[in-house]
């Protein structure tokens, strides 16, 4: 009994150690100037994608629901925090404190959206839930694109049409400019902060999984009717999982927003394209496998950059690699072949419960 607890803690420890070691290696490389500016620019986005992947894995792998709108929560977190930072730029001059508050604003707003969306959505069945979450992601992105918020001495102004209909005084400042988004967000994100957020995310998720709440959530995933029969409040735990996942995605959004001078809700970075990209990380890393999500997010983000040599062909190669990896990992006939030629590998895989990494 004690051995098992140690095994799990050891497993988790490996994950944390991995992240910290990579961080230290990168810091050394940065200090010795051996990192290209291209790679430097990827450091914060890498952290963003890792947080998104780990949080989505909580919904997909632990709660067992397919959410295709994860980018929507990132969007909520990004815009709410950027708006907050813009508004308090002159009031709270201590950058670190302001960013910390922005983080809370972003994460809580996203978590709130998680609850609001979760209440109607989580009672839908599988594929319907998938399409509705996708729809919500698109709606959020769309609405943010038509949002105009401005501030003048009279207070805040708001419009869904254009900046002129806000009827602001000449000295008024347009904070959110529709499709042009928010400009001038203080750039508080750093790689160090990113890694800290990654560690916090992994800490929260791993500890949730190995707790009473986590077991309840996984029980719902495995057999909802049986979970009900032992007295587990299905709605409560589904909402809990969904909103924690959303809140963490919101935090990723905050990190993302404070890394750019301009923040806008383009289809590429907040639409279903992003949601699907994160899902690919999750599936490739292993559904329910948190460490796998971290690794997959890093590799699959770096891969297109590493393939830059192939320039025009790299996305093509990326898609082929994706298809081949899926077939290699999941096709039953391929797995049988692997079992015959590498028996130990596959046996080990089937023995760990989903969620134990």
């Amino acid at each position: 009994m004690l051995k098992k607890i140690d095994k799990r803690t050891k497993n988790n420890f490996i994950t944390y150690a991995m992240i910290i070691i990579v961080f230290m290696v990168v810091q050394i490389l940065l200090a010795s100037q051996s990192v290209s500016s291209l790679m430097q620019g990827l450091l914060v986005p890498l952290c963003v994608y890792v947080i998104l992947a780990v949080s989505l894995n909580f919904t997909v792998g632990i709660l067992g629901e397919l959410s295709l709108g994860h980018a929507g929560f990132m969007c909520v977190g990004a815009f709410s925090s950027a708006f907050f930072s813009m508004c308090t730029k002159d009031v709270i001059t201590l950058g670190g404190l302001r960013f910390f508050l922005a983080l809370i604003v972003g994460a809580l707003s996203a978590a709130l959206f998680g609850v609001l969306i979760g209440i109607p959505v989580l009672r839908l069945k599988g594929d319907y839930l998938a399409i509705v979450t996708l729809a919500f992601g698109e709606i959020i992105k769309n609405i943010v694109n038509t949002l105009f918020i401005g501030k003048d001495s009279a207070g805040f102004h708001f419009s869904l049409k254009d900046s002129i209909s806000m009827n602001m005084e000449p000295g008024g400042e347009v904070l959110v400019n529709g499709p042009q988004g928010i400009t001038g967000t203080p750039q508080n994100s750093t790689f160090t902060i990113g890694v800290i957020l990654v560690l916090i995310t992994v800490f929260i998720i791993l500890n949730m999984i190995h707790s009473r709440d986590g077991r309840a959530i996984m029980a719902i995933r495995d057999n909802r009717i049986a979970a009900e029969s032992v007295g587990i409040d299905i709605t409560k735990y589904k909402l809990m999982a969904f909103s924690i996942s959303a809140g963490l995605a919101g935090a990723a959004g905050v990190l993302y927003a404070h890394n750019l001078t301009t923040l806008n809700a383009s289809p590429k970075n907040f639409g279903y394209n992003m949601s699907i990209m994160i899902l690919v990380f999750v599936v490739l890393g292993g559904i329910g496998n948190i460490r796998g999500s971290v690794i997959a997010a890093v590799i699959l983000t770096l891969l297109p950059e590493l393939l830059r040599g192939l320039s025009d062909y790299r996305m093509l190669v990326y898609s082929i690699v994706l298809i081949v990896m899926m077939l290699f990992n999941w096709a039953p006939k391929v797995r049988e072949w692997r079992e015959r030629h590498m028996p130990k590998n596959l046996l080990k895989r089937k023995q760990t419960a989903r969620g134990d990494k």
Binding site: R212, A216, D222, A227, E228, V230, G231, A353
Partner: protein, 252 residues
């Protein structure tokens, strides 16, 4: 006062009366059997008693409190636990974790305490673990505690389902065809175990079964269900010798 007191329970689905005027009284500590031909409505009765279906008429009282029409979760908290005809285990969880889920409402700490691993988390988790292993020992499953539930052989899966139900500290245990798919040896083992559970945990058991050896072996009283209605009720030996019951099972 009977532990389970059911009067006039009934439900119809789209015009078809699946269960009609169902009465049953089970005393505390009794080992009670619900039998009848296939399609008689036995699982429907279980579903009515455990909140999966809401009855159209009737009253259900468990240990004096009215649980008619309540939700599955409330009924579980009121003290009724069940197993299912087609085993419903948490397949991707370990054997031990399946039981721990059963213990969900018996031990508490909140989410924050869980995430930050506060002292209460450690204390309560230790207690949960000990209790889970205790329960597994009763069912001789402690050796497979870390095994994935899906990887257990069939007979052990059935035992695990009962162990999980027991973990909820119920007053009434409802077993739906616990011996289904078992060979005679496994059935004998199961019979001993059900009686052991009843004796050691002061349990009241209502079980659905087709296996007559088990029914006549351990059930003290029986209710026979046919076409959704009670055909016969009473002491096992009398009921099994009732000519109407024999006809219902063997046909005209």
């Amino acid at each position: 006062m009977a532990l389970l007191d059911v009067k006039n329970l009934g439900i119809s689905f789209g015009g078809l009366q699946a269960v009609n005027a169902f009465d049953i009284q089970i005393e505390k500590g009794e080992l009670y059997g619900l039998i009848g031909p296939n399609g008689a409505g036995k699982t429907t009765v279980f579903n009515l008693l455990t909140g999966v279906y809401k009855p159209n008429e009737g009253i259900v009282k468990l240990d004096g409190s009215d649980i008619t029409g309540k939700s599955t979760i409330d009924i579980s908290k009121a003290g009724a636990a069940r197993t299912f005809q087609n085993i419903r285990l948490f397949k991707e969880l370990s054997v031990r974790d399946n039981v721990k889920v059963g213990l969900h409402n018996q031990y508490h700490y909140n989410t924050v305490e869980g995430i930050f691993r506060l002292p209460r988390y450690r204390k309560v988790e230790k207690a949960i673990n000990e209790r889970a292993m205790e329960i597994l020992k009763v069912f001789e499953l402690e050796g497979t505690a870390s095994v994935l539930a899906a990887n257990l052989p069939y007979g052990k899966q059935r035992k695990l389902e009962i162990a999980r139900a027991l973990a909820t500290s119920p007053k009434l245990l409802l077993l739906d065809e616990p011996a289904a798919g078992m060979n005679p040896n496994e059935t004998k083992e199961l019979m001993d175990m059900i009686q052991f559970v009843r004796d050691k945990f002061d349990m009241t058991v209502l079980l659905i079964e087709h296996d007559m050896k088990l029914v006549s072996g351990i059930c003290e009283k029986l209710t026979v269900l046919n076409f959704g209605e009670v055909l016969a009720q009473g002491v096992t030996s009398e009921v099994l010798n009732n000519p109407q019951v024999i006809t219902a099972y063997l046909g005209e």
